[in-house]
């Protein structure tokens, strides 16, 4: 007895969905995660990858099947069937993508909020940087604010470490206002939130750490902020991601994520405010 086509379609659809979910969970294309928001990002990536895989493999399969099954064979002269439309089918493939897109939109809104993307930008960053900030309140034009306090308990306890980032052709400079010194590498302790207040000197640059899944343009004349909490010790590249001139490809630096002791030692070694007393 032949199997009815509707059952075959149903089984193929289920295999496709399960296969897509499996691919999304098991194929890892991303670098190691080293910040509090990287696992959240990876969660979004897996969902997008699953939906994308289901859609792509489904359409690829349909195209290949149609080309083989409905190819013109030797001696066939007649036309295909005169099907000009099918209202239920068209409603279906309008409604389903609309729902999927809406779901993805709401889901990524949730993700973005957990990353701190919806937090107000100017207020937080300015009150926490340093005492001198009170004299001139600057507008912050873009970036990612402090993540919601519920993400990690440590984040709620430790005050953020302020760092002022200056980008120029073709280097990043990191100024630690608490110690009044400038470093060519960004050193941050594991588990403590960091607030980068960024501005460029000449042209637009972008601060990107792939392992943190974070990027923010550094713009002349328009300060931006970037908040993150490193979670994994190591040395990760800081990459300029906005064309900034001939040596754009060479404009790189390093972020060193280390435990609190190592960070304190490094900080004390460079600290100018307490060093002047000795």
């Amino acid at each position: 007895m032949p199997i009815p086509p509707s059952i075959i379609t149903l089984v193929l659809g289920m295999v496709l969905v399960l296969g897509g979910l499996w691919i999304g969970q098991n194929v890892n294309l991303l670098p190691v995660d080293a910040s509090a928001n990287a696992p959240i990002y990876d969660e979004l990536f897996r969902v997008l990858f699953s939906i994308g895989a289901i859609l792509f493999l489904g359409i690829l399969g349909l195209v290949i099947f149609s080309l083989i099954r409905f190819r013109r064979r030797e001696g066939q002269l007649a036309d295909g069937l005169a099907i000009e439309g099918n209202l239920p089918l068209e409603v279906l493939w309008t409604a389903v993508p609309a729902i999927v897109v809406l779901f993805i939109g709401l889901f990524s809104y949730d993700i973005y909020e957990r990353m701190g993307g919806m937090a107000p930008l100017g207020h937080d960053a300015m009150t926490q940087t340093s005492a001198s900030a009170s004299s001139s309140v600057q507008r912050v034009w873009g970036g990612i604010g402090t993540p919601a306090l519920s993400t990690t308990t440590e984040a709620a306890l430790a005050p953020p470490l302020p760092v002022e980032v200056t980008a120029m052709q073709f280097a990043f400079l990191f100024r630690y206002p608490q110690g009044d010194f400038i470093s060519g590498e960004l050193h941050v302790p594991v588990g403590q939130p960091v607030t980068l207040a960024m501005e460029a000197k000449d042209v637009i640059h972008a601060f990107w750490v792939p392992e943190f899944r974070l990027k923010q343009d550094v713009i002349p004349g328009q300060p931006t902020v970037l908040n993150f909490t490193p979670t994994r010790a190591g040395r990760y590249p800081i990459v300029c991601a906005e064309l900034c001139g001939p040596y754009h490809g060479g404009m790189r630096s390093t972020v060193v994520v280390e435990d609190q002791q190592a960070f304190d030692a490094w900080f004390a070694q460079n600290d100018k405010l307490s060093a002047t007393s000795t």
Partner: protein
């Protein structure tokens, strides 16, 4: 005696100020078919130049060090590659070339609404293109990418940047003239009795595209004029040192340059909608929803530009709004793709080069569309913005999408234009090498972007060397794939099998005249085609003995 003979000879041919023979292709011809071919051949010449520039980029990136050319030259090359491919190849060819050739046929007209404006629009392109290319040899070309973001574009050598601006302004003007002409032709030059909803789908695609061109290109022109003031007259519109705002430039630039993506792909959508029904021997599935989705893409396409600026100076609410708006473009686009799949379903598909390139387009564009929906999500984009992931994404859209369709269209309409068929095995070889080369070149770049390689770099982390070499091999295959195509197109023009007027047994009006068509398109009155997709047999006319059960089941009744 001889004095009386001469006027008789001349009267056998109607007097004309237009040159005849091959010379007309180099002249200020006002024949829409000549102008269409001028666009196509000129565009293809620039495609070869842009391709050579891409080859230079992939050669540089075959090793992690900047060792093939000086860094300044690399930035000039990537700027020229982007500008040439967008403004001198894809936009003029999908709009100007096929639009001019086909639209008058489709509306039943003998020419475009404004033939002289049409010729002006074309003849702006060669000087603009030569100006752009020559800037490299005279002073060095622009170095700030095709986006020309200030302040970088204000600080790189000024002459190259100014020539770039002039060239893009000329090309934008050409595009606007073309857009006005298409709108007027489609709305006002239709043969009496031909209703809008009876037009072939390419007319709708060109109407939508031309609306986008006319609405958004002037914004780019104004922006570039302000930018040139900043460079030449040291005004401060976009110069932060003089109180200017660099992010405003980005808003204005992308207000044109995101719709520009639809200016490059909507006509391609229209062309595929013409090609598939003919070779599948089926009506185009869902005509009305196709029209609605084109217009939805036009409207939505105008309000999504800031998704190019998610990491720029943009506040949270703006990032969120543009996420939702952008993602929703997937809905009308998806409708079109499902309609094409339904057009394939149950057809009698000839697996020729035109169909293979069309189906290659569907597969590539779906992948580019999926990464596009992902990129629309702010949190996703914050990681991969300005990386090779984006490079892969938009090449899947503009090469895997538009360029594949250009090739499909050449295979489909070559018999009409020349009266001779192209060589089919060579065409399939061309498809095979292009498809493999393209995917080998751009698929690995997704991984590069996710793992930390930014775009527009001449040097990179050595851990990415192998994947970059893989990508460069793909680029080499793409370059090689041009050879069978060029040979095919040139040799078939002289030795190809004679095509006849209508080798595909198509129903659209351009096939209802001789191949190549005469000046003014038809010897008699223009035919009235009210059902351009009237292919196929109704289910009750099926020969029951020859039909399978599946044919009956899928008849939709």
């Amino acid at each position: 005696m001889t004095a009386t003979l001469t006027p008789q000879v001349e009267s056998s041919r109607p007097p004309s100020l237009q040159p005849h023979g091959w010379l007309r292709y180099l002249s200020f011809s006002v024949d829409h078919k000549v102008i269409g071919l001028q666009y196509l051949v000129c565009g293809f010449a620039f495609y070869l130049i842009g391709g050579a520039l891409a080859g230079a980029i992939r050669t540089e990136l075959a090793s992690p060090l900047s060792d093939f050319m000086p860094r300044e030259v690399y930035n000039q090359v990537l700027t020229l590659h982007g500008t040439v491919m967008i403004f001198l190849w894809i936009v003029p060819v999908v709009n100007g070339a096929f639009g001019n050739y086909l639209i008058p046929f489709y509306v039943g007209a003998r020419d475009m609404a404004f033939p002289r404006l049409n010729a002006v629009a074309f003849w702006l392109i060669p000087p603009a293109g030569l100006l752009l290319i020559s800037s490299y040899f005279i002073t060095g070309a622009a170095q700030s990418g095709w986006t020309a973001y200030p302040p970088l574009s204000l600080t790189t050598p000024a002459i190259g940047q100014i020539i770039w601006i002039l060239s893009v302004l000329l090309l934008g003007g050409s595009s606007i003239f073309g857009g006005i002409n298409f709108i007027a032709t489609i709305l006002k030059l239709r043969r009496p009795g031909l209703k809008l909803m009876q037009l072939p789908m390419y007319c709708w695609a060109m109407l939508g595209t031309s609306i986008l061109v006319v609405l958004s290109t002037p914004v780019l022109a104004g922006t570039l004029i302000l930018l040139s003031f900043d460079i030449v007259a040291h005004t401060g519109f976009f110069n932060p040192g003089m109180g200017g705002n660099v992010v405003v430039y980005q808003h204005l630039f992308w207000f044109y340059s995101h719709p520009a993506v639809y200016i490059m792909v909507l006509p391609a959508f229209g062309l595929v909608s013409e090609i598939l029904p003919v070779h599948c021997r089926k009506p185009l599935f869902g005509y009305a929803t196709m029209v609605v989705s084109i217009m939805a893409i036009v409207v939505l396409g105008l309000v999504v530009w800031a998704h190019h600026m998610f990491t720029s100076g943009t506040p949270p609410w703006m990032r969120l709004f543009f996420t939702i708006a952008t993602a929703f473009i997937a809905v009308p686009t998806g409708i079109k793709f499902f309609n094409w799949l339904a057009t394939l379903w149950g057809g009698r598909i000839s697996l020729n080069s035109a169909v293979l390139f069309s189906c290659g387009f569907i597969v590539n564009f779906v992948l580019g569309g999926i990464t596009g929906v992902a990129l629309a999500q702010v949190p996703f984009d914050v990681h991969v913005h300005d990386t090779y992931f984006v490079v892969a994404h938009f090449h899947y859209i503009v090469y895997g999408g538009s360029v594949f369709v250009i090739f499909a269209s050449i295979y489909h309409w070559y018999p009409k234009v020349t009266g001779r068929m192209l060589n089919e095995p060579l065409g399939r070889l061309h498809f095979l090498i292009t498809f493999i080369g393209f995917n080998l070149c751009f698929a690995p770049q997704h991984w590069l972007g996710l793992n930390g390689m930014p775009r527009r770099v001449a040097e990179y982390d050595p851990q990415f060397a192998f994947i970059n070499q893989l990508s460069s091999v793909g680029a080499l295959l793409m370059a090689i794939s041009t050879l069978p195509f060029l040979w095919n197109v040139i040799a078939s023009a002289f030795q190809g099998e004679i095509a006849g007027d209508n080798p595909w047994r198509a129903l659209t009006p351009e096939w209802l005249t001789s191949s190549p068509p005469p000046v003014e398109n038809w010897r008699g009155e223009a035919p009235l085609v009210t059902e351009p997709y009237g292919y196929g047999v109704a289910a009750d006319e099926l020969d029951l003995k020859a039909a399978s059960g599946r044919d009956l089941w899928s008849s939709g009744r």
